[in-house]
Every structure is written in C-alpha cells, then in structure tokens.
Symmetry: C2
Subunit: 257 residues, 2 copies
C-alpha cells in the first residue's frame, strides 16, 4: 500500500475509507489509525464525522464498517449500473447453460477487477466476488486482459509471477506462449491456476476501435468435461455484448480504471 500522506481534509477522510478492503471490512479505531498512518486523534474525529454522515457504521461491538450511504452512492456508479443493465442478460444466459458462475472483469492496474458476477446455490464458492482483484496471470479473465494488453502491462506482470497453486504458471516464457495462443483462439482457459478445483474460460469484450476493455468469464468445477464445448458460446456472447456496449456508448470502460 503506497500511502500518500494527504494534507487536505477530504484526502485524509479518504485515507481513512481506503483502509477498508475485502480483508479489512471491519476495523477498530486503532486499526484504522495504524493503517492510514494518521494520528489517532485525527482518525477519531474523522471517523465520527463519517459515522454522522452514514458513510461508516459502528456496530455493537465497537468496530467500524462501511455504511449504507456509501453503498447507495456506489450503485450509482456507471461502472456498475450501466454495465450491469446491459451485461446481465448475456451473463444470465450463460449461467443457464450449466449453473456455473459467470463473471466480468476489468483491467485495474496489474490486476483484474471483478465488476459483476452471477452465481447460484450449487456454484462452487469462488474467490471472485464483485470487487475482488484477481492476478492477471492466474485467472481466465486475467489472462485475456493480459493477452490483449499493452507491452508495458505484459512486461510488468511477467516480471513477478506469484504462485497460488502448484499449477500456477510462474514461467514467463510459458505464459508468453499461452498469451499468443489466447489471441489465436479468441479465448483463454485456465485450470486450477488460482484455486484448486476451479477451471475457467474467458473471452474478450471489445470497446470502440477494437480495443479489449473487459473480459467475460465462466468458472466451473475442474471435473466438468463439458466446458470446452461452451467456448464458442462464450465467445459469441462476448461479441454480442461488445456490440451492445458500443451501441450504448459504453465503450470506454478503461476510463473507469
């Protein structure tokens, strides 16, 4: 976490909010102070104001969590609502094929940000909830974004390939070969590279100017042999979705990054 020391009030307020992430959804006052690197007294005051605004909640045990105000503002973000309205029908159709989780990921720095997902009761509980940031080299959606990404992006990612399972690709040459193949085939495939038991397929979503702006993926148990037959359907869905997004003028998802 590259913590910029903020001097404006709003900056400090967001330093406080930024200490919240998927692994720190509930924090005590002292935790927030440590993580934001702000004086405890300052955090105390800010947090109280944020609670008064409904931006934070204090639960009964004294810990703080993100409040309802932020949530209801968040769903107004076009990232969420525009994309969701257009993409959900396509995702739903894919879901019906085999009740496998379906997800959409965006490039976010050197990670893949999951912005939408559907999953049912029988779906394997994936790591990739909305808001999750998956590694680019170890997920279907990630590899798609990487394959179609810029030279700089690929260089940056290839330099440090973290290992998640014993099938994670940590060899740069091998990964490069795969990226080439992904562009040839038009879709990516991964098997237990991020989590044991999970297999994924993913296809690129295009914005205007044939630029890849997102990836549409499907996650299924590793013992599901049918999955490869789904690939053409996935690619077709991604293409149809691309056209819809461009027609709706939502082709610059990148600016949301």
């Amino acid at each position: 976490m590259a913590v910029e020391l903020q001097k404006s009030v709003t900056g400090r307020a967001f330093s406080v909010l930024d200490t919240f992430d998927a692994n720190h959804r509930r924090q005590t006052l002292a935790q927030i102070a440590r993580r934001s690197k702000l004086p405890l007294t300052t955090v105390h005051r800010l947090v109280h104001e944020l609670v008064a605004q409904g931006a934070l909640n204090r639960s009964t045990d004294g810990a703080y969590e993100i409040g309802r105000k932020i949530w209801s503002l968040g769903i107004l973000a076009s990232l969420h609502s525009d994309l969701r309205e257009i993409a959900l029908p396509y995702m739903e159709d894919l879901y019906q094929l085999g009740n496998d989780a379906v997800q959409i990921g965006l490039l976010d720095g050197f990670r893949c940000l999951i912005v939408e997902r559907i999953a049912g009761s029988r779906t394997l509980s994936v790591i990739s909830k909305p808001g999750a940031r998956l590694p680019l080299h170890a997920s279907g959606v990630g590899k798609v974004l990487l394959a179609y990404g810029s030279k700089e992006l690929q260089q940056g990612v290839l330099d440090s390939l973290d290992r998640y399972t014993d099938k994670t690709i940590t060899d740069a040459a091998e990964l490069k070969k795969q990226l080439k193949k992904i562009k040839d085939l038009g879709y990516a495939h991964s098997e237990e590279e991020l989590a044991v038991g999970a297999r994924t397929l993913a296809a690129p979503i295009y914005g205007s100017g044939n630029k890849v702006v997102a990836a549409l993926g499907i996650v299924t148990p590793v013992d599901n042999r049918d999955i490869m037959r789904i690939a053409p359907l996935l690619v077709a869905s991604a293409n149809a979705l691309s056209k819809k997004l461009i027609a709706a003028g939502i082709s610059d998802l990148s600016k949301l990054v």
Copy 2:
C-alpha cells in the same frame, strides 16, 4: 430534500455526493452547486478534490458521476456483502422456478429500499433495481414491511397514499384491510399497483425476536396465472432465509436503515 447546511468539510463533501441519486447520476458543476445549496466556488474545489480521490469521475462531456472508488468501497458494506452471500442461493432457487425477477427489500424511512435483485434477459424490466426506493403501499415487498411495521409507520404512510396506476390503493381503509390479511396469510400480493403489467408476491424475512427486518419478493408479468402456486414456496424460502440470517448473526438489518 431537507438540506441541512453543513459546516464541516466532510459534511460539505457529502452534501456534494448526496446530490447524486438515481435520477441525477450525471450532473454538471452548476447543477451540483444548486442542488447542494453550496457556493459554486466551494463546490468547484470540493469536486476537484473528489475527482482526485477517485470518488467522482469527470466524463468527456464535462459532467460528473460517481467514481469507482465509491463503488468498490460500497460493495464492502455488510448490507450488501453479508446479505448477498446468504440470500443469493435462495433467490436463485426462486428465480429458477419461472425466470421471474426476485428481490429483497429493507425498510428505509417511509420507503422500501431494494438491496438485492436477480433478473434475467426475459424478465420484465422492473423499476426495482438495487438502490431503488419503492413506495410502501404500492409494492409487494413494501406492503409486507408495512403490514408488520410499527403503528407510527403505518400512520405516516396511510396519511398520504400517492397514486401510480389506476389500481394503486389510495384508500386508507381498504389498505388497512389488506395489511391485516397479509399478516393472516403470511404473504402479500399486488397487481399493477405500481407499474402496469407487473404482479408481485412478497413474504416477510424475520430477524431475532421475531421482528420482520426485510421482505423477499418475486415480480412476474400480470398474465402469469401460475404465480399464486408459488406463494407457499416463497414463504418457505423466506423462512429458511430468516433462520440462516439469524444463525449468521445478521439479524439486525434494521440498524442499517
């Protein structure tokens, strides 16, 4: 909009953010200034700081909208993530019965806040996206919350019954009778009371102490005759979900209101 004049910086910052709602997802600087009742110069400065933080986006045409930072913080709200994890499987099962939209609503002042929804491609495009605030007297989920709500709540709502369609119940006595029936049956039914062509069923979700904390609803086209057969299933799902929520300790959804 009861605009409190805010004197703290955070207060002012949220006055700015609060001008964004479902009907004002994209606003110009001047619009924000007018709606927040803050001096233009002040808003100008605040908005620029918020853009720098990623809390707002400025799109190419100069208008501002909620940014990605707020979105990613919002999905950390327990309102969203805790409830979602537990409720989605049940909602998904109901959805599979007939591909009708399924929704969960919470009491929020004199309205029903939709916090979760699933819907597919063929689903009629309902008004009730997540974040929507439905009237209590003219929606299935709303009527459930109203029926099990406090005397004060009922009084407040019954005092002014807005009309949305020609089937909207605007007669207080008639509505009172319905509320009683809802408590007897254990579920609510509405037909084109909010939007023409839509019919809904809804059942209460209980928290600890047998308090109704939310409502689970299903929205279907008005010509769907099967729907009444779903009622017992809906009630059963709502009860099962209630138990799960209590077991998980998420029985005080009300504090999120």
